[in-house]
Amino acid sequence: MAWDYRNSKDFKDYYEERRLQRRIGFIFVLLSAVFLAYLFNLWFLQVVNGDNYRRLADNNRLRQIVENPLRGLILDREGRPIVQNRIAFNVLLDREKLVRREETVRSLSKILNLPEQTVRERIERYRNRPIFEPVIVKEDVDMGEAAYLESRRLELPEVSVAIEPKRSYQNRDLAAHALGYVGEISETQLGKQRYAGYQLGDVIGKAGLESFYDTDLAGEKGWKQVIVNSLGREIRALPAGKRPLAGNALRLSLDLDLQQELESAFEDKMGSAVFLDPDTGEILAIISKPSFDPNVFARRFSAEEWKELINSETHPLQNRAIQSKFAPGSVFKIVMSIAALESGKATPARTDFCPGYTVIYGRRFLCHQEGGHGTLAMVEAIKKSCNVYFYHLGRDIGIETISEWAHKLGFGQATGIDLAHEEAGTVPDEAWKRRTHNEPWYPGETISVSIGQGALEVTPIQMAVFASVIGNGGTFYRPHLLLSREVRGGVEEAVKPPEVLGNVKLKPSTLQVVKQAMWEVVNEGGTGTKAAIPGKDVCGKTGTAQVVKASAGVKSEKLAESIRDNAWFVGFAPKDHPQIAFAVFVERGGHGGEAAAPIAQRVMLKFFEKKDKPPEGTQVARATQHP
C-alpha cells in the first residue's frame, strides 16, 4: 500500500504520522474482525441451523387443512332416503375486516333477528382464537336471510355466508330412536380407543344406527396443504393431499311405507312396536313413542331444547323398543303353555274350571272375567286369556320349568339387535331371587309370573323375536336393521344373509296348539279380534299388564283399572309360513285387544297390500307394451 505521508508537508513529525498510520490500521483490523464474526454468524444461521429454520419457515406458511367427508346416507329397504345431508348456511363474521364493531353488531342483530347482546357474546367467544378465524354469528339461516346478506356484501364486507353440510332427518321424528342422531364429539369420547383420529369439533353418531354404524357412515377425512401468507390468508393449495372419502350409504331393512303407517297408527300414544320378517330377522318397522326430532341435535344448539328432551318425564330419548322393560302380561300365557307342554307336565287336553277367582296358598287371585270362564281346555284358556287356568298351571309346573322355557324362548337375554344399550329384561326364578334380593322364592310369586306379572320384565324387541320364533317354528334370527351397505364407489354389497343365533326345539304338536290358540284369539272371538284381516289368518295374543309393579302378591283389583294398564299385542301372520311377526306395546293404553291390536292390524294391512300388489315397475312396463 502506498504510504506517502513521509513526503507530505502536512505532517509535523514522524511520531504523529506513525500514530495515524497505526490507528487507521487498528480500525481496519477491528472492522475485519467484526465482519468475520458476522460471516461466522451467517454460516451458523444458514448452514449449520438451516434445516431448523427451514422447518420454522414451513410452519409459518404451510397449513394442513382437514377436509371433512360427507356422512353416508341412510336408505330404506327400497332405496328411499331416510337420512340425508343438506346444505346449511352459516353467517360468518371476519374480525380482521371489522372496523365499526357496534354498527355491525346493530345491523346484524336486525337482519338476523337476534338480540344485540347475543351477537356481541358470539363475537366475544372467539376472543382467544386467531384473528383470521371467522366467527359463526348464526347457524343454519334460511335461504332468504343468506341471499339478503349476500346482496349486501358491499355495505357489510366483514359478513359472509358459508355453506356447511348438515345431517338432515327429512321425516323428522320418524324412527328417530332407531336412526339416532349426530353431534359434536365429547371430550370423554375423544379419549376412547374407538374414536382415535377424531378431534374436537368433529361430528359423530351419538345414538341409534348413527352411532352403531358410525365407522361406516363417517367416511374418511381428507386433508390438503395450503400456503398462507402472514395474515393467514390462503394463497393456494398444494398438490399434496387426500380427498375426503364420503361415508358408506346404509340400506336398512325398514320399509318406509310400513314405518309411516306405524307412525300414523300410533298417533301420540306412548309405547313401542317392532315388526319383523320371521324368516330373516329383518326389522320392517320400529317405533318408540314419544319421539324427538334428531335435526335438533345436528345444530350447535340452544341448551333449552336439550334440557327439555333430557328432563321430560316421558323420557323421549329412551328407545323403548330395546330399553324399556315391562311386564308381558297375558302374552306370557303362550310361554306358560309351551313350558307345560314341552316339559310334559300337561297336555292340551288339560281342563280346569274358572269360577272367576281362585284361592292358592291362602290367598285370593282374581280372573279378569267376573263370574268366571267356566270349564276350559288349554286352547280356549289362551283364547279367552283365563287367569285362573294359568294360575293353576303355574302352580303345577313350578317356577323352575317356567324360567327354563322363558329363557329358551329368548327372554332374560338381549336379542342382539344392531343397536347399542339393549336391555336383557328379567326372568325370575329361585336363583335369581337369592342373587338379587338374597331371599327365598315365595310360591305366591310363581302365581304372579304365571300370568306375566311379578318380577317378569321383557322388552318389545324380545316380544317381537318371540313371536317370530313361534311363527317360524323355533329359529332365532338376529333382529337387525342393516340390510346392506354401499361399498366404495356406489357398489352395494350383497344383502346380509340372516344370522341364526340359535334354535329352540318345539314339538310340532306344541306349535300346533299354540298357533291354533293364537289364531282363535284373533279370528274366533278371542281377545284380539281387532287385528283380524280376512284371508290372512292373523295369529296373536293380547296382554294387559299392570303398571304398578306387584311386590309379593298380585293386587288383582288393580287389573280392573284398565286405563292404567299397559297394552300388548304380539303375534304373526299368516298362520302357516308367516311373513310378518310383531309386538305392539301401548304404555298405559288399557286393554291389549283395544289399544294395541288395531295398530298391528293397520301395519299388516299395509304390508299385505304391498305384498299382493304387483310391483309398480311391472305395471308401467305392461302399460307401455300395450298402448
Binding site: L42, L45, R54, A57, N60
Partner: protein, 363 residues
C-alpha cells in the same frame, strides 16, 4: 476541474463494489415488492440510483479542497433545514424527518451526514495539533452533536446514532490518548443502569428487552427479529431462489424492502449470496481505508475515514439487527435498502472518497 489524468486514477475496485451492491439492492427491492401494491418501487429505486450516480460524479469531480472550503456553508444550510423540520415539519410515521417537496419526499438527515463530514474534516485539517487538544475535542462534539440532537428530536434516534462514529473516528485519529479512550469506554458501561432508568422511553426499553429475548413477545416486538432470523436461516447454503423466498414473498418478513432487505436477500440467495454481499461491503470499507492511507493530506484522511465510518456503522448495525445481534433500530442498509435519501447520500459519500483517491498525488 476534472482532469483527464484523474479519470485514469479512478478506484475501479471501489466503484465496482459500490455499483454491484446497488444492482443487488435494486433486484431485492423488486423481489420484496413483487405482487404487492409497492411494485413500482423498484422502478423508483432505479431513478434514485441515477440521481445518486449524478451526486457521486459531482462529489468526485470537484476537488475536495474546494468542497471543504465551502463546507461551513453546506453545514449551516443543512442545520437550518433540520431546524425548519422541527418547527414546521409534518409528522410521517411519528417522526418529523421528511421534507416534502411536491411529489418527492426527502430526508435532510441523510444529506446532513455529508455536510457534517465535510465540516468536521475541514475543521480538523485546519486546526492541527500534536495530540487531541480540548478545544478540538469540543469542536468535534459540537459539530457532530448539533445535527445529532436535532435529528434525535425528530425523533429518529436510529439515524442520529449513525452520526456518532464520526466523533469516535475523529477523536481517535485526532490523537486521543489511549488512557482517555479507556475511561470514555468505561463511563457509559457504568452509567448504563442510570440511563436505562431515567432516559430510555418505554418502547426503547421494550426493543432492548425483546432483543435480549425475542420469545418474550413473538407476536409483537420480538416478531420482527424472529421472522428475520427464520428468513435468513431458512435460506440455507444456496437459498430458495430469486423471488422464491417464502418468508419474504408471503410477507412474514417485516419492512423487507427497507430495513430487512438483507434478510430477504439471505433467504433467496442463501449463505453463498450473503457471503458475496458481505464481502462486497468489506471491499468498500477496505478500499476506503486504503484510500485514507493514500490520501495526500489530512483532509483526505478525515474525509475517507469519516465516510467509511458512516458507511460501516450503518452496514454493521443493519445486518446486526437482521441477524438478531442488536435491537431493532430502523437503520437502512446502505446502497441496498429502498429509499432515495440514503442511496443518494451514500453514493455522494463514496464520491468524496473516490475524489480523495483521484487527487492523492501531489500536483
Amino acid at each position: 476541474m476534472l482532469e483527464r489524468r484523474s479519470i485514469h486514477n479512478l478506484d475501479w475496485v471501489l466503484a465496482f463494489a459500490v455499483l454491484s451492491l446497488c444492482a443487488a439492492g435494486m433486484g431485492m427491492v423488486y423481489s420484496a415488492t413483487l405482487g404487492g401494491p409497492l411494485t413500482p418501487l423498484a422502478t423508483k429505486q432505479i431513478v434514485y440510483f441515477a440521481i445518486g450516480l449524478a451526486a457521486m460524479i459531482l462529489a468526485l469531480a470537484v476537488d475536495y479542497h474546494t468542497l471543504a472550503s465551502l463546507s461551513y456553508v453546506f453545514y449551516a444550510a443543512s442545520l437550518l433545514l433540520l431546524v425548519y423540520l422541527l418547527i414546521f415539519g409534518r409528522a410521517i410515521a411519528n417522526t418529523r424527518g421528511w421534507l416534502e417537496l411536491g411529489p418527492v419526499n426527502f430526508q435532510p438527515a441523510e444529506m446532513t451526514k455529508i455536510t457534517t463530514l465535510l465540516a468536521l474534516s475541514s475543521y480538523l485539517s485546519r486546526n492541527r495539533s500534536s495530540g487531541l487538544t480540548p478545544s478540538n475535542m469540543l469542536a468535534i462534539i459540537v459539530i457532530v452533536g448539533i445535527p445529532f440532537l436535532l435529528i434525535a428530536r425528530q425523533p429518529d434516534l436510529g439515524t442520529a446514532i449513525t452520526f456518532l462514529p464520526l466523533i469516535a473516528v475523529a477523536a481517535f485519529l485526532g490523537g486521543m490518548r489511549v488512557r482517555t479512550i479507556f475511561v470514555l469506554v468505561m463511563i457509559p458501561i457504568l452509567a448504563l443502569p442510570f440511563f436505562w432508568n431515567h432516559y430510555l422511553k418505554d418502547y426503547q426499553k421494550t426493543r432492548v428487552l425483546t432483543f435480549l429475548d425475542p420469545s418474550r413477545d413473538p407476536k409483537g416486538a420480538g416478531y420482527q427479529v424472529l421472522q428475520s432470523r427464520i428468513a435468513v436461516g431458512s435460506g440455507g447454503l444456496t437459498g430458495k431462489g430469486f423471488l422464491e423466498g417464502t418468508q419474504g414473498q408471503l410477507k412474514f418478513l417485516p419492512a423487507q424492502h427497507t430495513d430487512f432487505i438483507f434478510a430477504l436477500m439471505a433467504e433467496e440467495r442463501g449463505f453463498l449470496g450473503s457471503m458475496v454481499v458481505l464481502v462486497l461491503y468489506f471491499v468498500v470499507i477496505y478500499r476506503c481505508i486504503a484510500i485514507a492511507r493514500a490520501a495526500r493530506d489530512l483532509l483526505g484522511v478525515y474525509l475517507a475515514m469519516g465516510a467509511m465510518a458512516l458507511f460501516a456503522c450503518q452496514v454493521l448495525i443493519n445486518i446486526g439487527v437482521v441477524l438478531g445481534l442488536m435491537p431493532t433500530t430502523g437503520v437502512p442498509l446502505p446502497l441496498m435498502s429502498y429509499g432515495g435519501s440514503s442511496l443518494i447520500t451514500t453514493l455522494a459519500g463514496m464520491g468524496l472518497v473516490l475524489n480523495v483517491w483521484m487527487r492523492r498525488l501531489v500536483n
